[in-house]
């Protein structure tokens, strides 16, 4: 029933950057959320984006992951242009994203949630109508992911019945299930208790080797600890890029956040 997946070979690493944008712009009525952003995001590491409310961080994520089409400008994933590519094809390329608001399959079990994410890799294969239980490889990978995110014991719970922290972790599980080279995590720590925050940060650190993680996050303490570089957005554009130390020392950034009193 399912036609073979369009051949979209994952572009090889080696171009040096994971994402490149050129003149990327997104306007809403009376409002430019992302304004002429041309940046290159280097391969590997935790690349964090911070900025005041309304600075365009999430819109930037939405443009990269294909949720919104840009008003102007182009973007590349490694050496492949992805400007017009629909979201599901970007996901197949290995661009995985999580959402600011919890975005899981509420009435399916935790196990089913993760298995669906794992199974997406096999989408379009001939054996797609075989009963799920018999797809051994799937089960193996699903178990691995469930252990990784620490939800193995909750596997038969309906996702909507999980605690908030566990739901957010499941969301990360969905993102890492197919072992993608790039993760776009949009405020993964939002609304978490300190313990949950701690566990999740550990999880992010654990999964980061060998991938690029793009992170939008408000918890400055966490951002300063885990980021390789920080990109500061303000009013739709890039205000500054640098290591956490550089950003902390950057006066323009401090002004954007605090005004002049700092």
């Amino acid at each position: 029933m399912s036609a073979p997946a369009p051949a979209v070979p994952v572009p090889a690493a080696g171009t040096g950057y994971i994402f490149k944008t050129s003149g990327l712009t997104r306007r809403f009525s009376g409002f430019t959320a992302v304004n002429d952003v041309s940046i290159e995001i280097p391969e590997g590491g935790v690349r964090t984006i911070i900025g005041p409310n309304g600075a365009g961080k999430t819109t930037f994520f939405n443009l990269l992951s294909g949720l919104l089409p840009p008003s102007e400008g182009r973007m590349w994933f490694r050496d492949r242009e992805i400007t017009g590519l629909p979201a599901y094809q970007r996901a197949r390329l290995g661009i995985a994203r999580s959402f600011q608001i919890t975005n899981i399959f509420g009435r399916l079990t935790v196990y089913e949630n993760v298995r669906l994410a794992v199974q997406a890799v096999h989408d379009g294969k001939a054996n797609f109508f075989l009963p799920t239980a018999r797809m051994g490889k799937l089960a193996e990978r699903t178990e691995r992911v469930l252990h990784d995110i620490g939800l193995w014991d909750a596997r038969d719970t309906r996702a909507e019945n999980l605690s908030h922290g566990d739901q957010r972790r499941l969301e990360i599980g969905l993102v890492i299930a197919r072992d993608p080279p790039v993760l776009l995590l949009d405020e993964p720590l939002a609304g978490m208790s300190p313990t949950e925050t701690h566990e999740t940060v550990e999880l992010i650190t654990r999964i980061s080797p060998g991938r690029t993680i793009l992170l939008v996050e408000h918890d400055i303490d966490v951002v300063m600890t885990i980021s390789t570089t920080i990109t500061v957005f303000q009013t739709g554009g890039v205000l500054a890029v640098g290591t956490p130390t550089e950003i902390r020392a950057n006066e323009a950034v401090q002004r954007a956040y605090l005004g002049e009193i700092a």
């Binding site: 029933m1 399912s2 036609a3 809403f28 009525s29 409002f31 959320a33 409310n53 309304g54 365009g56 961080k57 999430t58 819109t59 939405n62 992951s65 949720l67 919104l68 629909p86 979201a87 599901y88 094809q89 996901a91 197949r92 995985a96 994203r97 959402f99 600011q100 975005n103 899981i104 399959f105 509420g106 009435r107 399916l108 089913e112 298995r115 669906l116 994410a117 199974q119 997406a120 890799v121 096999h122 989408d123 797609f128 109508f129 075989l130 009963p131 799920t132 797809m135 799937l138 909507e160 969905l174 299930a177 197919r178």
Partner: protein, 376 residues
Amino acid sequence: MTPPNRARRLLLHPLLWTALLFLALPWTAGSDPFHGQWSGFVGIATTMVIFALFASGFNLLFGHVGELSFGHAMFFTLGAYATALYANGFNVTVLGAVLAHGKGDNMLVALALSLLLALLWAWLLARIIIPRSSGIYFSMITLAFAQIVFFTTYRWSDLTGGEDGLQNVARPTLFGADVLRDSDHFYWFAALCVFVALCVLYWILASPFGSVLHAIRENKQRARFLGYDVDKYRVNAFVLSAVFPAIAGWLWTYFQQAINPDAGSVEYSGNVVMMSLLGGMQTFMGPLLGASVYYELQNEVSQATKYWEAWIGVVFVVFVLAGPRGIMGIIDDVRTNGVAAILRNPFKREEPVEPTFDEALKPLDESPAVSETGVR
């Protein structure tokens, strides 16, 4: 899975219960076939199993993908007419060419023709409708397209016999034996066909394909971001969900030995919607139970009043308001909470979830999930 768990799962297996239901149907309502006492109920039982299949096919789309089609009778009626035309033969002029066909008595050929016709139409519609609509917009559009089929069967009198339809369709033979003329034999034949078809449906729903459908029902956007081509799945589901009503239509023609345009009417489309909801639309058993309960109800109430449809409407409205998960939902509640808790608080039921994103009025599915002004 531990062994006791497996035994329990087998015991609760929907296909087992389906088989039991089909075995039990002819015995209900005062019939006792072991002693030759058919009280005419076998006809109703046959109707029940055929509509169980019809409703299950509809429910593949509504219960499992979350798209409410208000026009599924079009596939039923296409299957039914294909069968009747094959069995009775036809002689018609289309675009100046005379098409003719003599009577046919191979029911498998009839089945193939039914499926072919329904699949072609479903595929064509799916390509038009699916990328352009979802939600209630989808419901309205399917309803309207079903009217095209309805009026075709109604108006193309040369071919379809118009309002009177096609009469005197012969029951098919089984390996040359004319056994299906007998109504209880036909019941078992229909029940077996429906059971086999339901096994296929169950297999589809249990496959990875089926779980992607559930994922789409729960959260289209997330499914897309996992890398699923959501529209392709919706098209495939739409086409698949036309298969089962077409089979049901094939059986229906042989059962009724006649067919008329009513089979493709809004009422028929609406009836399967009601059956699915009454039984419980997100379950496999729901439409089967719903079809049985619907015709039982009709059978009882119609003896009391000729306005029986009003009472069906009342039952339906009560379910929409107070029991949107249907009979299966009530069973589920009783199993998890116990009867006492339900009686104490009869109206506190689990509500169906609201859509994750407001897709209700978006004819185009590509609408951004973030509202225009709601950018953060």
